[in-house]
């Protein structure tokens, strides 16, 4: 289990506990966190679960593969060096305390 914090564009945060083997995306969907759409259900097809990892993050996250890299070209909000697809971020004890920032829009 990990505590994941989703920071909305207006600065408010939603903090939820997410169980493995969910993803950061699924954690948001299960808790109805507005700002994560995940229209493809987590298949790295749509780019509507885009998040920005907090720049100060030191928690270990899996490397980005080519598909995720490509899908991130199509996000509704500008991609940055901190952009990830939250459906590609599995939850584990190792990322307890992760802070992600939600973009202004997903589609």
């Amino acid at each position: 289990m990990a505590k994941i914090t989703y920071q909305h564009p207006n600065g408010t945060v939603t903090v939820v506990d997410v169980e493995a083997p969910n993803t950061v995306m699924r954690g948001a969907k299960l808790n109805n966190v507005e700002g994560i759409e995940a229209q493809c259900g987590g298949s790295a097809q749509c780019g509507t679960c885009h998040v920005y990892i907090d720049p100060a993050n030191t928690l270990p996250l899996p490397a980005m593969d080519d598909v995720e890299d490509d899908v991130l070209y199509g996000t509704a909000c500008e991609r940055s060096e901190f952009s990830r697809l939250s459906c590609q971020l599995p939850v584990s004890d190792a990322i307890d305390g992760l802070l992600v920032h939600l973009p202004e829009a997903q589609s």
Binding site: K29, L30, N31, N32, V33, E34, E37, Q39, C40, G41, S43, A44, Q45, C46, G47, A63, M64, V67, D69, D70, V71, L72, Y73, G74, T75, A76, R79, S80, E81, S107
Partner: protein
């Protein structure tokens, strides 16, 4: 009075997402979600893919766990059906006889599969695929020894089932009445590439052929399919994927406008301002088609749900989401953005032979969409370009070395590379 209560008739993707989006937007009234599938809202995309192979477990096809609806104070009535609407009294009557008041009613009644209009279509072993019960039936029948599987219809459902069945080692034939596969959905070049993928995998694809009859083995199980011209092919299992019929009875009974779908305006309202219709069953004016259309996709269901939830929360806006759709067959990633079936000009970019290319579609010199095979960046960029109402000209797209990535955005910072310091002007 129930002015602040919302009743959603139909608990598929569109209905379930309406309920979720209402709560996410802060709606505090009563929400009742009514659907006839006993298990509650399910995630349909895996049902024609990973669910059939066992790669996706049954519990993973639940759209959201039961705890979600409890936590969000959404009253989920699974296994129930709205039978009629009394617009004067603002109530719905369920098949069980129960009456519920509504302030706003959302019709998300979806579609049902068309059945094969030939003799023998009711034999055992002739299936359609829509819900989890259908998928479970098909999964069990595909789990045994190799069978002769005939898929009728070379649309997305049919071809996904064909790919899955072939992957499981069955002998697979696809019979399509149109002269080409995916005729309603894809340009010929992409459709041909998809068919080539099937033929390479050993699937027999028969185009421009009609099924005329099915014959059983004397115990009521299908054994033989007869085609036009009299050809007979052996079939242990027939999967019919020849399109769907929108569920409009409820709307018709309520006196709402209906015509291949429940007719709604640009805000997804029916003739009655307190009743919306969304998802597969709704016929809405599409800025991408220039006319009223129905769209059968998760994207459309989700985006229409959000549009209606916003309207109910006092933020009405016309529905303008860019249509998109995806399919996966033999691990090929096929993605469509916009409505690409009838372009007047196409430009193919990428490596067709290598199976990594996109067909950019234009009408009147404007980009109207793209079909991408294993080119997810092209797909996502096209969606952004369409949303912004822009895009390359066909002439620009034909230039050697043209790449949507560099057209649409400055080089993106990628893994291990320093972030781009200087922002360039982009057309998006």
């Amino acid at each position: 009075m129930a002015a602040d209560s919302v009743v959603v008739a139909g608990a598929g993707q569109a209905g379930a997402d309406t309920a979720a989006a209402l709560r996410a937007k802060g709606f505090t009234g009563r929400i009742t979600l009514i659907g006839d599938e006993p298990g509650g809202p399910c995630d349909r995309p895996p049902l024609s893919k990973g669910y059939l192979t066992g790669a996706v477990a049954p519990e993973e096809t639940v759209l959201r766990p039961p705890s979600f609806y409890a936590a969000q104070d959404i009253e989920l009535m699974a296994g129930h059906r709205v039978a009629s609407v009394d617009r004067d009294r603002h109530t719905v009557c369920l098949a069980s006889g129960l009456r519920l008041p509504y302030g706003t009613l959302v019709l998300a009644t979806g579609c049902r599969p068309r059945t094969l209009p030939v003799p023998g279509a009711s034999l055992s072993g002739v299936l359609t695929l829509r819900g989890t019960a259908d998928a479970e039936d098909l999964r069990l029948r595909l789990s045994g020894s190799p069978k002769r599987v005939v898929v009728v219809g070379a649309g997305f459902i049919g071809l996904e089932v064909a790919a899955t069945a072939r992957g499981l080692g069955h002998e697979v034939t696809v019979v399509e009445a149109q002269p080409r596969a995916l005729a309603r959905a894809l340009t010929p070049v992409m459709a041909e590439r998809v068919v080539t993928g099937h033929r390479d995998a050993g699937v027999r694809v028969l185009l421009g052929r009609e099924v005329t009859a099915l014959y059983g083995d004397g115990t009521g199980r299908v054994r033989v399919m007869e085609l036009d011209g009299g050809e007979r092919i052996a079939a242990d299992l027939v999967v019919v994927g020849i399109g769907v019929v929108p569920n409009t009875d409820l709307a018709l009974g309520a006196g709402l406008g209906v015509g291949d779908g429940i007719v709604v305006d640009s805000h997804l309202r029916t003739d009655d301002p307190d009743i919306y219709a969304i998802g597969d069953c709704a016929r809405f004016p599409s800025p991408y088609a220039g006319r009223h259309i129905r769209l059968e996709s998760v994207q459309n269901a989700t985006d229409q749900a959000r549009c209606v939830a916003a309207a109910i929360c006092g933020e009405p806006a016309p529905y303008t989401a860019v249509p998109w759709f995806w399919s996966e067959q033999y691990g090929l990633r096929l993605q469509m953005a916009g409505l690409t079936a009838a372009p007047d000009e196409t430009v193919t970019v990428g490596d067709v032979a290598g199976g990594r290319f996109s067909v950019l579609c234009f009408r009147g010199g404007l980009l109207i969409g793209a079909e991408s095979l294993n080119r997810p960046a092209d797909h996502g960029i096209t969606r952004r370009l369409l949303a912004a109402g822009t895009g390359p000209s066909p002439e620009a797209a034909r230039e050697p070395g043209f790449d949507l990535k560099t057209f649409a955005r400055p080089p993106a910072p990628v893994r291990g590379r320093a972030p781009v310091q200087e922002r360039q002007t982009t057309p998006v």
